[in-house]
């Protein structure tokens, strides 16, 4: 069993994502997210080298540009604009949540062990684990954060995880589908970013933990 | 010719027996109280007197009151024709147990309505009590008759009361049980002691007398006569039951049977007079318990009949 460069990049990205859970500072989160995404772009590039597919290169560049530069820039701008720099945390404390994230990181290795990879038995295990771990981390992030903006981060991490999973577990998703997904994510981020400002405007905060008006009596 | 004779005797007994029964009871009671008492035929004189008088009715009443006594009377007459209370009774169509019981209910229902017509509280309270009693006593009467029906395998009273089989001990026992049940439930049906005191003078404790409180003149005559006739019918049935308990009864010819029957009815009247002199009226709340005993008597009779059927 060999560990490829792709897998190393992926695992690094997953660990970086785990670190996001540990901090409540939005800017730190953003930076960590950008780094994590960059590693994913690197992983894509490595995979492109491995399978010598030019299409993947294009995607790697797109990810690097859009997800690790444009989106963080946008949110950084939004943070400044909203004057919110720190999340309040929900359910469990951040350090504890980070430990949980790391636990889930290791759990994902156990969960993905049995996944048969098209590249042959044993191959792609770490990649799958990284992907699943990212999904878990993202979910955890969404669960343990109160601010709307952090929930978007969580969602982005989940999206990253799924992308990683697709990258490592399949041989070449159709390009059109990949692009469509990327576009959707982008639009989604834009829409939710827009909503962010609306929430700030209407409620004078972006704490979604307080949005509990709509419920059963 | 014999048919005509039968009819004549029958009509005569319908007219005379009720009055004599009533008279016997009164006479017995008077004698036991060390009074001479009215003659046995006194009820006849009473009725004649009543039918000569005019009626006074409440201005609240509508036609229901007079209609009720009329229909109740007619109903009891029909019953007298249908029910084999006398063994020399002429032919009548199918006299079904259930029909007989419900024809009695017919009369009772009209009496109840009549008592409610005046808007008087006495009549209404007694009607309410009468309805309560009937709830308990109707099953008793019905089961007493049904016990005979079960034993003789028919719901037609004609068949039951003309049964001529070689009598066994079971037969006698069932006849006696049914007779007792019919007799005792008749005490309730007829508002006699210990359930109701027909000679009481306090409206609040009366049952039957309060229901007819507003009646007078011919109307009262009808009611009184119907009541007396009803009594004879019940006593007739009961006395026949007792008589048929003796195997020898079937061997007698029809005249002696008829004579015994009449003697039986008057004997029962005598017994009632005796009873009424010896016991007191029960408190209203204790009455249901008394009727419960009667009902269980009927039940025992029916169960015995079923048991006899199963053993047979």
């Amino acid at each position: 069993m060999t560990v490829t460069a792709t897998e190393i990049c992926v695992l690094t990205a997953a660990l970086l994502a785990c670190l996001i859970v540990g901090s409540l500072h939005l800017k730190v989160n953003l930076w960590l997210y950008a780094m994590s995404t960059l590693f994913i772009a690197l992983a894509t590039a490595a995979a492109a080298l491995e399978h010598s597919e030019t299409g993947l290169f294009v995607i790697a560049i797109l990810i690097a540009l859009l997800k690790s530069i444009a989106i963080p820039k946008f949110f950084s701008w939004a943070i400044d604009k909203l004057h919110v720099y720190r999340d309040l945390g929900a359910i469990i404390a951040p350090p504890l949540a980070m430990h949980a994230a790391i636990l889930l990181f290791s759990l994902s290795f156990i969960l993905t062990k049995e996944i048969p990879s098209p590249a042959g038995p044993g191959n792609g295990w770490f990649g799958a684990a990284g992907g699943i771990s990212l999904v878990f981390t993202g979910l955890l992030l969404m669960l343990t954060r109160r601010l709307a903006i952090s929930q978007i981060f969580g969602f982005l991490v989940i999206e990253n995880g799924i992308y990683v999973f697709a990258l490592t577990q399949t041989k070449g998703m159709p390009l059109m589908v990949e692009m469509g997904i990327l576009l959707d994510v982008l639009v989604g981020v834009m829409v939710s970013g827009l909503l962010l400002f609306k929430i700030q405007k209407s409620f004078e905060h972006i704490d979604v933990g307080q949005l509990t008006q709509l419920k059963e009596p | 010719m014999t048919a005509l004779l039968h009819w004549l005797t029958f009509l005569l007994s319908i007219i005379l027996l009720p009055v004599l029964t009533l008279g016997t009871i009164r006479k017995t009671k008077a004698r036991l109280q060390n009074r001479i008492g009215p003659p046995i035929c006194q009820p006849i004189y009473d009725l004649v007197k009543l039918s000569r008088k005019g009626e006074t009715i409440s201005s609240t009443m509508c036609g229901v009151f007079r209609l009720s006594s009329l229909l109740a009377f007619a109903d009891i007459l029909v019953l007298a024709w249908l029910t084999p209370w006398l063994c020399f009774k002429p032919w009548a169509p199918h006299s079904n147990i259930f029909m007989v019981v419900y024809l009695f209910a017919f009369a009772r229902m009209f009496t109840l309505l009549g008592s409610l017509d005046s808007g008087s509280a006495f009549g209404a309270f007694s009607a309410s009590r009468e309805a309560t009693l009937s709830l308990l006593v109707e099953p008793a009467v019905l089961l007493a008759l049904v016990s005979l029906g079960i034993f003789f395998g028919s719901s037609d009273l004609r068949v039951i009361f003309s049964h001529q089989t070689n009598q066994t001990f079971t037969d006698s026992a069932i006849w006696i049980a049914a007779g007792l049940a019919i007799f005792f439930s008749s005490l309730v049906e007829l508002s006699r002691m210990p359930v109701d005191d027909p000679t009481t003078h306090l409206e609040l404790t009366m049952i039957h007398e309060a229901m007819i409180l507003e009646a007078s003149g011919r109307n009262l005559a009808l009611i009184e006569f119907a009541h007396a006739l009803k009594m004879s019918i019940f006593f007739g049935l009961a006395s026949q039951c007792f008589l048929r308990a003796f195997p020898q009864f079937n061997t007698f010819n029809v005249y002696s049977q008829g004579g015994l029957n009449i003697v039986g009815i008057l004997g029962l009247a005598l017994f009632v007079g005796l009873l009424e002199s010896l016991i007191v009226k029960l408190q209203w709340r204790k009455v249901p318990e008394f009727i419960a005993y009667i009902l269980s008597l009927s039940l025992i009779a029916s169960l015995a009949a079923i048991g006899a059927g199963v053993i047979k």
Binding site: P116, Q169, K171, M173, V177, V191, L195 | -
Partner: protein, 475 residues
């Protein structure tokens, strides 16, 4: 490419028209026409598929359609056209009760609506699982704009929950699709494929474990979008906060899209021979959803929340139909549900305008306010709760009578219970609304145009149940 243009041309034109400086009154005349035109175009396009029973009509590489898909496509566009037509009247009345001052919002609504409907159409048209996913995600994004229409705190909250929960759910669906794609790469199809037709054809050769997990994730993902219990949490909020015509679309069309996606994926796994999994899971989950939703119906306070939960209940029933492996049955139930539920939502919109409140307790005596509304409302409520002679009775009866083995029979029992409970709960609320004396000043007087569309929908629902119309789907 031609195909692509023909499908998107009219909606794009609508979008452009809506974003120009056209007056909103003019737009109200144009948009319904456009939507009916679009319905016509799509009918024309899918006509061959409707005539053929079992063959696919291929438009281009990734786009094809078969009979049931075409039926769904037409249903969705029909519902959309009806809803938009009613919306024009609805928004005109909205002015009367002092809401919706900004005409820009309404114009945006029409634009978003056109895009939303197009995205939904692509759900039925796409043969490619990836594109299917993209379309579903697009519906979420576009409909978010519809939910956010009234731009108050509540609608904002509803939109946020809708967006986040559905996006997370849909993300899982994507994971599921990737797993299915991975399963196809294990020797079944060279290089793997996302084409549904290919996947169904090669279902036996797919890697079973991956397929199974892919199915689970898809069920979870699309189930979130469809509102199965306990993933339904966003649904009552979104449905009650959106303006009535948009709620109608969400309930009558969007849920069908999500369920249709589940149906397509289920088809693969049922053909693959792991049918136990693909039968047991949707049936039991569907029954559970219906049961839970019927309980939710009991203590409802909001008129539109009531219908939202009723939609969830129907989603449960449709999921059972999917689990039974009968797409026509699923479609028939969806058809009836959509017709009746859209009528209900549209009428509820009218009633809310008239009563000035969404609270069930405050609304009384609608039968006195307007017998035509009242009777149509009662009829639609009867239709949605599965009363004869409406179509849903026949559909539910067929679903119940299809339940054969033990698990299915238990599910049928649960469904019977849920149906009874939901009928009782719904009619309790409906009775309270219809009967009695009106509590409020009547703000909007009932007009012919505000009753027309719901009435027509009810009549269609009636025809679906009391004529031989359904035999068309069951050939």
């Amino acid at each position: 490419m031609n195909f692509f243009i023909s499908v998107t041309a009219i909606p794009l034109a609508t979008v452009i028209l809506s974003l120009t400086k056209l007056k909103v009154e003019q737009l109200r005349l144009v948009v319904p026409v456009m939507s009916w035109l679009q319905f016509g175009v799509l009918t024309f396009l899918s006509l061959p598929a409707l005539q053929n029973n079992h063959s696919f009509l291929t438009f281009s590489v990734d786009f094809s359609i078969e009979k049931i898909g075409a039926c769904f496509l037409l249903l969705t566009n029909f519902i959309a056209a009806a809803s938009i037509t009613h919306a024009t009247c609805f928004f005109a009345n909205e002015k009367l009760v002092g809401r919706g001052e900004d005409p820009q919002h309404e114009k945006l609504y029409y634009a978003a609506c056109a895009l939303f409907v197009t995205a939904m159409s692509f759900v039925f048209l796409s043969d490619n699982l990836g594109l299917l996913w993209v379309s579903i995600e697009a519906t979420t994004l576009f409909s978010a704009a519809l939910v956010y229409f009234s731009r108050d705190k509540h609608s904002l909250e509803a939109t946020w929950k809708y967006l986040i929960i559905c996006s997370v759910g849909i993300a899982f669906a994507l994971l599921g699709i990737i797993l299915i794609f991975a399963s196809s790469q294990h020797g079944a199809i060279a290089g793997g494929s996302l084409s549904l037709r290919l996947l169904v054809d090669h279902a036996n050769e797919l890697q079973p474990k991956l397929l199974q997990f892919g199915y689970i994730f898809c069920l979870l993902g699309f189930g979130t979008k469809a509102g199965v219990f306990p993933l339904h949490t966003w649904l009552p909020d979104a449905h009650s906060e959106a303006p009535a015509p948009a709620s109608a679309l969400l309930s009558g069309a969007l849920l069908n899209c999500a369920l249709f996606s589940i149906c397509r994926v289920t088809e693969i796994i049922q053909v693959s021979g792991h049918s136990f999994f693909a039968t047991f899971l949707p049936i039991s989950w569907g029954a559970l959803t219906a049961l839970a939703a019927s309980f939710f119906l009991i203590h409802q306070v909001g008129i539109k929340r009531l219908w939202a939960y009723s939609s969830i209940e129907n989603v449960g029933i449709m999921l059972v139909a999917i689990g039974l492996g009968s797409p026509p049955l699923f479609f028939f139930q969806a058809l009836n549900h959509s017709l009746a539920k859209v009528a209900l939502f549209l009428l509820s919109g009218n009633i809310i305008q008239s009563a000035g409140t969404k609270e069930l307790k405050q609304i009384k005596g609608i039968l006195q306010v307007s017998p035509s509304w009242g009777i149509t409302f009662a009829a639609a409520a009867a239709a949605v709760t599965g009363m004869p002679p409406f179509g849903s009775f026949v559909a539910e009866w067929m679903i119940l009578s299809h339940c054969g083995d033990l698990v299915q029979r238990i599910a049928a029992g649960v469904l019977l219970f849920a149906l009874a409970l939901s009928f009782i709960a719904v009619s309790l609320h409906v009775g309270r609304i219809l009967w009695g004396k009106p509590k409020h000043q009547i703000a909007v007087l009932p007009t012919f145009s505000s009753t027309l569309i719901p009435l027509l929908l009810c009549i269609f629902s009636l025809l679906a149940g009391s004529t031989c119309l359904p035999t068309f789907f069951f050939d």
